[in-house]
Structure formats: structure tokens, C-alpha cells
């Protein structure tokens, strides 16, 4: 199926190739995500799904191909018929419009929960300190941590830390939020609280791209499931198709192992 250009596009990955040394991690990935759409990326480990996510916010540079978010090229600009690398400062500005939630939370351990959330809007000059703290309190309330603003990250459980990390990503009011296996580092009984927060975001119309192993969760919230293997998109479509009636042998094989 080809994508028509009439509907708006929130995120576009175009012909992305990525190597680590001689190893090819991404082998020509094309992906289009519409505003408000929830995309879940599935695939065996080493299939390139995390790399794809990191290419989207330019934590990794693609060797060939490009990514655009809300019609803006990420990490590069067009000069004639060539793409030129942007300055580091410009890339940082672009990243502040793309939320990223890590598997290991990566909260700043020396800052309180409130400062973790309020830091980025202040540092990027989007808000004053008082405003940023008000916003941080509001967001922490939204993820159910209004009473832990003064705590340090290491005083929280894993699930709480990941919820702070989500609030931190939301503080920049990003157009797209990327989740890199957000529940993989959590104890099983803590997974639910994080998924509930992500589900809340999904229903509120935020554009989300989620790499996860939670198939049940994918079926529940995904508008589209993308299955990646060997650095290529094997198949994609609504969960009812990809998860329940996979067309490809490799997808069937993968699902039979994880379900």
C-alpha cells in the first residue's frame, strides 16, 4: 500500500540505512506515522527496533536516508539535492520537540523529582523557573506522583522512576514521544502502572511510537503494529491483522515464541 500525501504526517522515516562497522542494523526502513497515531514496534532482539527509535531523534545518525518530524528534517537540512548535517545546537533544539523515554529511565540522580521534570523547559529557555515548576507539578500529578516531588530518583521504585521519566519527556510538550522498551527493566508487578500512564497518553491523542515486548498491551492500544526483523520492516498493519492473522512466516514464528 502506498501512502497518499493528502493526510497530514507526524513522523516519516525514509529509506534509512544504518551500519555499526560492517554490521547492517537498519536496511532500508520506511515508516509513516500520522498525528495522534499509536505505533507499536515489535521484533526479536537485535532486529534494529531500538536503533530505529534512536535514529528518529538523531541519537544515532543514519548513513543513508532521512527522518522528518512534522515536515521538518531531523539532524540534516536540504541544500540543493544533497542533505547536509546540522549543527549540534540545531539538533538539540529539534530533539527538544521529540520526547524520548529510556528503558533504564536515565533520570538525573542528583536532582529532585521536581527538578528532573522542570530542568529541560528552563534550560531550553521555553519557560521561566516558576512556570516550569508549576508545569512539573501538574505533570507529576498526571502520572500519579504529586506527593513525591521532593524525593530523589533513587528513593523511588522502578515504576515510579519511569513515570517521572515520562513526565520529564512531557514537560517539553513534544509533538511525538518515543518509548524504548519502557517496561523491560521493571519488576512484573510494576509494569501495569507505567502502561496505564502510556495508555492515558495514547487516548489523549499524543503521537506515540513504542518499542515493547508487551504483546497484550500492543493489541490494546496500538493503531498500528510494525514487525521488524533483520533491520527491515517485515509487515505492518492494525493489531487485528499483524497479531492475529500474520501473513509472514517470521512474524508467526516470533509471535508463537512470545505469546
Amino acid at each position: 500500500m502506498t501512502v497518499t500525501d493528502i493526510t497530514p504526517v507526524a513522523l516519516e522515516v525514509h529509506g534509512v540505512h544504518k551500519w555499526y562497522g560492517a554490521h547492517r542494523v537498519l536496511d532500508g526502513v520506511d515508516l509513516t506515522v500520522r498525528p495522534g497515531e499509536v505505533t507499536v514496534i515489535l521484533g526479536p532482539s537485535g532486529s534494529g527496533k531500538s536503533t530505529l527509535l534512536r535514529v528518529i531523534n538523531h541519537l544515532e545518525k543514519p548513513e543513508i536516508g532521512y527522518v522528518s518530524v512534522n515536515d521538518e528534517l531531523i539532524g540534516v537540512r536540504r541544500q540543493g539535492d544533497r542533505l547536509k548535517e546540522l549543527s549540534e545546537r540545531a539538533i538539540l533544539t529539534q530533539r527538544s520537540r521529540i520526547g524520548f523515554v529510556f528503558q533504564n529511565f536515565n533520570l538525573f540522580p542528583h536532582l529532585t523529582v521536581l527538578d528532573n521534570v522542570a530542568a529541560a523547559p528552563v534550560a531550553t529557555g521555553k519557560l521561566g523557573k516558576a512556570q516550569a515548576q508549576d508545569l512539573a507539578r501538574e505533570l507529576l500529578g498526571r502520572v500519579g506522583l504529586a506527593d513525591r516531588t521532593g524525593a530523589y530518583p533513587r528513593q523511588l521504585s522502578g515504576g515510579q522512576q519511569q513515570r517521572v521519566a515520562i513526565a520529564r519527556a512531557l514537560a517539553l510538550r513534544p509533538g511525538v514521544i518515543l518509548f524504548d522498551e519502557p517496561t523491560s527493566a521493571l519488576d512484573p508487578e510494576l509494569v501495569g502502572e507505567v502502561l496505564a500512564v502510556i495508555k492515558d497518553l495514547a487516548t489523549s491523542g499524543t503521537t506515540l511510537v513504542i518499542v515493547t515486548h508487551e504483546i497484550g498491551f500492543a493489541r490494546e492500544i496500538a493503531d498500528r503494529v510494525v514487525f521488524i526483523d533483520g533491520g527491515r520492516i517485515v509487515e505492518q498493519g492494525p493489531p487485528s491483522e499483524v497479531l492475529d492473522r500474520p501473513r509472514h512466516e517470521r512474524t508467526r514464528d516470533f509471535l508463537s515464541k512470545v505469546l
Binding site: N57, L59, E88, R89, L92, T93, Q94, R95, S96, R97, F100, F102, N104, N106, L107, F108, P109, H110, L111, T112, A119, A120, A123, T124, Y152, P153, R154, Q155, R168, A169, L172
Partner: protein, 327 residues
């Protein structure tokens, strides 16, 4: 898992050892193991320590009255002031230089990396005293120092002999040396910060300078502090070398007074020793609180201050006494 016959002694079968009516085993405190070896070792060390202190106090060789005479003499205090001044300047300039060198060493530019590596290699190889004497004789080698295009016209020029007082020479020499060591301390600290922190900071789009100042460096300071203080204590003692570039620091003063009053050499050396002890103790106290400050968030609760520790152990002791008397 089978035990040899007769090896197992059942607790309930053991006969009561005394005539007193026995309480059930579970209700009694376990008798602590006696450790005679530890008591003997403690006694021996106490005796040796007492002997040492006694000797220190009573041996006429130390001339404690002369020590009292010299300890707060204005000349000695002037020397102490010089020591403090040289150490403070070199500590600050050395740390700043060390941070720059560490950043250069960690940069992506091979030229910066090589320059930084070479600097550290050279300055760590040359003895400090050689650096100091070199600088001392520098004004003889280069009469004027000028700022301008290399090999081209000069914008400013300084008459070096006027610029370089003994104090400036000492501070420059110590700072150059200190920077080389501080560079490695700072680099180690920066490397100790988790890679995920760099990634999170750049994923949030935090400006580069902010990432270093507010995210990476404060976390690096946790491991930089103990190492740099170690370095700093070495520096305080190295200031005694500035005597060789004719600066009268604490050691220099003591040395020259000792030449004038040969009978007082030992008490004068004691004066210097005690002052150096006081300086390093002061630095250690500051270190404790700086470390405590940067431990914020790294541990679930902050390490207790000595006062808190004392209070906690008193409470513990009181509770123990109450327990023992209750049983």
C-alpha cells in the same frame, strides 16, 4: 546429607548446666563469643601509644618550651600566610587547568587530545623542583614576553623580570604541575558518569554547556572530590619547595630561622609539622562536607555528620544498657 552417628546433638536433649531453674532457650540472649586475642592486641597497642606520647611529651630533645615560643611568632605566621596563598592560588588555577585539559582529552578533535595527553605526560614526568627552577631562570632566557601573531608583530609585550615576582613564579610552577594531575582526576570523574546520563541530557535537547555544568559535572564531582583532595594535600606539602625560588613560605621561614638559631631546629621543625597537620585537617573537614553535599541523590539517605553519629551511638548505648538491665 547423612550425618555420622553420634555427631548430632539435639538441643532439647542437652541437660541444664546449672541448678537454677532454666528458662526456655528461645527466651534467653545468646552469649557473645569471647575474643581474648582482640583484647590482647588492644592492650599492646595502647601501651605502645602511651609510650610514644609519653616520649613526645617528656623527651627534652623536642624542647616544647621553644616550640611554644615559635609557634605563633609573626615571622612564622607570615610564612604560613605565604604557604596558604601559594596553595590556594595553585589549587584553583590547577583545577581550572585540569578541567580544560580533561575536556580537551575527551574531545573529538585528535589535535586537542594529543596536546592534552602530551602536556600531562610531560608535566608528570618532570620533577616539580625542576619546573620551579626552570621558571625561576626563565626571565634570563626570555627577556620579554609578548602577545601577538606567532613570528609576526606583537600587540603587547611585558618586561618579564618585572612581571614575574617570586610569588608568581611559585604559583605558575605549582599550577602547571597541579593541572597535569588534576586533569586525570577530572577525566576519571567525567568517565565515571553513566553514559545514559549523557544520552538523556541530549535526548531532552539540553544545551551543551548546561549538560556539562548541571548534569555531568555535578555527578562527576562525587568521585573527583576525594581524589582531588588527595592531590590538594600533596600540593600543600609541595609548597615547601617554593623555598628554592627564594620565597619564604612556612617551611622556608622555619629553615632560615633554624639557620639563625641552630639550637632551635627541632622545635622549629615541629612548628612546621603541626601547622601542616592543621592545614590538612582543615582540608579533610571541608572534604567531608563537600562529599556529603554531592552525595545528594546518589545514596538513599545522606551519610551522617560526626555529631549525628555521636548522638546515634549514645542512643544505641542507652538502649543497650536498658536491654541488659531488663534481662
Amino acid at each position: 546429607m547423612t550425618e555420622p552417628p553420634g555427631a548430632a546433638v539435639s538441643v532439647t536433649d542437652a541437660p541444664p548446666r546449672s541448678d537454677t531453674p532454666s528458662k526456655p532457650l528461645a527466651a534467653q540472649r545468646v552469649l557473645p563469643l569471647r575474643r581474648p586475642g582482640r583484647w590482647i592486641a588492644t592492650a599492646v597497642v595502647l601501651v605502645l601509644a602511651a609510650q610514644f606520647v609519653h616520649g613526645l611529651a617528656t623527651n627534652p630533645f623536642y624542647q616544647w618550651d621553644r616550640f611554644g615560643y615559635w609557634f605563633l611568632r609573626p615571622t612564622v605566621l607570615d610564612g604560613l600566610l605565604i604557604t596558604l596563598e601559594v596553595a590556594a592560588w595553585s589549587a584553583v588555577l590547577g583545577l581550572l587547568g585540569g578541567i580544560l585539559l580533561a575536556l580537551a582529552r575527551l574531545s573529538k578533535s585528535p589535535v586537542l587530545r594529543a596536546v592534552s595527553w602530551t602536556y600531562v605526560w610531560a608535566l608528570r614526568s618532570i620533577p616539580l623542583i625542576v619546573v620551579l627552577l626552570f621558571l625561576y631562570n626563565f626571565s634570563a632566557l626570555y627577556k620579554t614576553l609578548s602577545v601577538g601573531v606567532p613570528f609576526g608583530p606583537a600587540f603587547f609585550s611585558f618586561d618579564e623580570s618585572r612581571l614575574a615576582t617570586d610569588m608568581v613564579i611559585a604559583v605558575i610552577g605549582l599550577s602547571l604541575n597541579e593541572a597535569a594531575y588534576a586533569a586525570e582526576v577530572v577525566r576519571g570523574g567525567i568517565l565515571s558518569v553513566d553514559q545514559g546520563q549523557h544520552e538523556a541530557a541530549s535526548a531532552l535537547g539540553l544545551p551543551k554547556g548546561y549538560q556539562f555544568r548541571k548534569i555531568v559535572f555535578p555527578q562527576a564531582l562525587r568521585s573527583i572530590t576525594p581524589n582531588y583532595v588527595n592531590q590538594l594535600i600533596g600540593l600543600i606539602k609541595s609548597t615547601s619547595l617554593v623555598f628554592y625560588v627564594s620565597l619564604l613560605d612556612l617551611f622556608g621561614t622555619v629553615q632560615s630561622m633554624g639557620a639563625t638559631y641552630p639550637g632551635d631546629i627541632v622545635p622549629l621543625l615541629l612548628v612546621a609539622t603541626v601547622w601542616y597537620l592543621i592545614l590538612t585537617s582543615a582540608v579533610s573537614v571541608v572534604q567531608f562536607y563537600v562529599e556529603r553535599h554531592y552525595a545528594r541523590g546518589a545514596t538513599r539517605s545522606l551519610p551522617p555528620t560526626p555529631l549525628q553519629k555521636l548522638r546515634a551511638s549514645l542512643t544505641e548505648l542507652r538502649a543497650r544498657i536498658r536491654r541488659e538491665t531488663a534481662i
